[in-house]
Symmetry: C2
Subunit: 289 residues, 2 copies
């Protein structure tokens, strides 16, 4: 079993010991509710570091009033077992006061890639993410960290934050993992009723439809996006966005796409029976082949 | 003459060379318009490091619309000579794109000690300060840095930021330097007409009056503050604040002070013929003795 650490001082003494041995440190931050998507990030990290630290911290700053902070899935024992099985050497359960100690004052409000898309629907979200990731990077100082492509915009925000504050972390993108029915793995999928789950499959179907149209030569952004929207609305999902954006900086594409398929990313968010689902893919990388 | 460096890459290569020689690096960030207050910070820094870096960067993020960004005193040659005379080894003139490169996204919005006082009158100010200082600390990674007590709240914000993001910089407080007439040195004093300058002396007189009342045994915060306000208003200065606060975290004191004099700080800001003057002192450390 991985070491389970609750005290910041114990974490830092272990990190120092590893560093003195010349071991490289990898890091996967999570909010718990671990599933195979997280485990995939951890397995990927273990390929690139000697010791893997996983944090499990449900960060209040990422939740707005009325969101699911209280209900967010928490099961420390199961999380510890899963992280261990995926190669974690140390699982850190920070206390609130470790992340936001008395007097703490440094909220980070991302602009640039942190504007638009998710922020249109969760204005507080990347402020919470950037603030906690900066603090975690500063406390742990890993050589590498893995963030899932499931939260594609978040990945870009974290990469930019890492550059801006010169943390020197190699931020790796972890591939999105899907369930057998195509739904992207998410801790919040446990909220879905069987009916909602069935309707939710419209999300990966929307991605597939856009990729299929692209494969058939469609290059009009409006037509491609419309193919995705049609699938989402066919089962009555409440569309938040379904857009093609630059894979590098989320900027809007020209009316007609050019260049390689991986220059662009289809990103979407929709509410399904009240549960928010997000998903994304490169235009040549559909959920199913 | 200190090396004058305009390219980030040249700065970083010099820093790396010094580090490889085992030399400790000190840092004094400035916006130029150097005066003996800045030089005092530099001389203090040289006592605690092997090599001193001074930055001269008029940070647009610290100025609101309608403030004096364009008019702010700029004289690179004189600044370089003054910094050299005060012991600087390298004077860095960052370009805007070094501090805020394309894609840069990490604005830091201080809470805690960054709320109240200055923020009531310059709401953008500490956001600009924290953002640029975080970036400068991240790029330079000095062992020590000196910030003047003239900007007392700023000193506390920088110290907390340094803790929050674990920069590991030893942030030293530089003593406030006054002109012969008692006015705290400030780059903006050049804006003062002779008449304004004469009226501005009411600011140190206000500090002196509060310290005198304290020395005579007055402990009522209301009475102490009133002694300061009277001096400011006697010459018609436009009061922004004149308050006694905790020297540690700027919190409000009890109605009647207890403990040592250095537990408390008198902080004040007033407009004098349209020019904003700020000043502060410990209750047992008046501008004149």
């Amino acid at each position: 079993m991985a070491s389970s650490v609750h005290e910041l001082i114990a974490l830092q003494s272990q990190l120092m010991a590893w560093r003195q041995e010349g071991l490289t440190i990898g890091f996967v931050p999570t909010m718990g509710g671990l599933h195979d998507g997280h485990c995939s990030l951890m397995r990927q990290a273990t390929q690139r570091c000697d010791r893997l630290v996983v944090s499990i911290f449900v960060n209040p700053a990422q939740f707005a009033e009325g969101e699911d902070l209280e209900a967010y899935p928490r099961d420390a024992e199961s999380d510890l077992a899963l992280a261990t099985s995926a190669g974690a050497d140390l699982v850190w359960f920070p206390k609130l006061k470790d992340i936001y100690p008395d007097g703490w004052c440094s909220t980070i409000v991302p602009s640039g890639v942190g504007l638009g898309l998710e922020t249109e629907h969760r204005p507080h979200f990347f402020t919470g993410v950037a603030t906690v990731v900066a603090r975690l990077f500063a406390l742990i100082r890993p050589q590498i960290a893995v963030f899932g492509e499931k939260d594609y915009q978040q990945l870009l925000v974290v990469r930019q934050l890492n550059k801006d504050l010169c943390f020197g972390v190699q931020v790796l993108a972890g591939r999105l993992v899907r369930d057998r029915d195509g739904l992207a793995l998410s801790s919040r999928n446990v909220y879905l009723s069987p009916e909602a789950r069935a309707d939710g499959q419209a999300v990966p179907r929307a991605l597939a439809a856009v990729c299929a149209a692209y494969a058939q030569g469609e290059r009009s952004v409006a037509a491609l996006e419309a193919a995705g929207v049609a699938k989402l609305q066919a089962v009555g999902l409440e569309l938040e966005y379904c857009r093609i954006v630059s894979a590098h900086n989320l900027s809007a594409p020209p009316d007609s796409l050019s260049g390689d398929a991986d220059e662009w990313r289809l990103v979407t968010a929709a509410r399904c029976h009240g549960i928010r689902l997000i998903d994304n893919c490169a235009l040549d990388d559909p959920p199913w082949r």
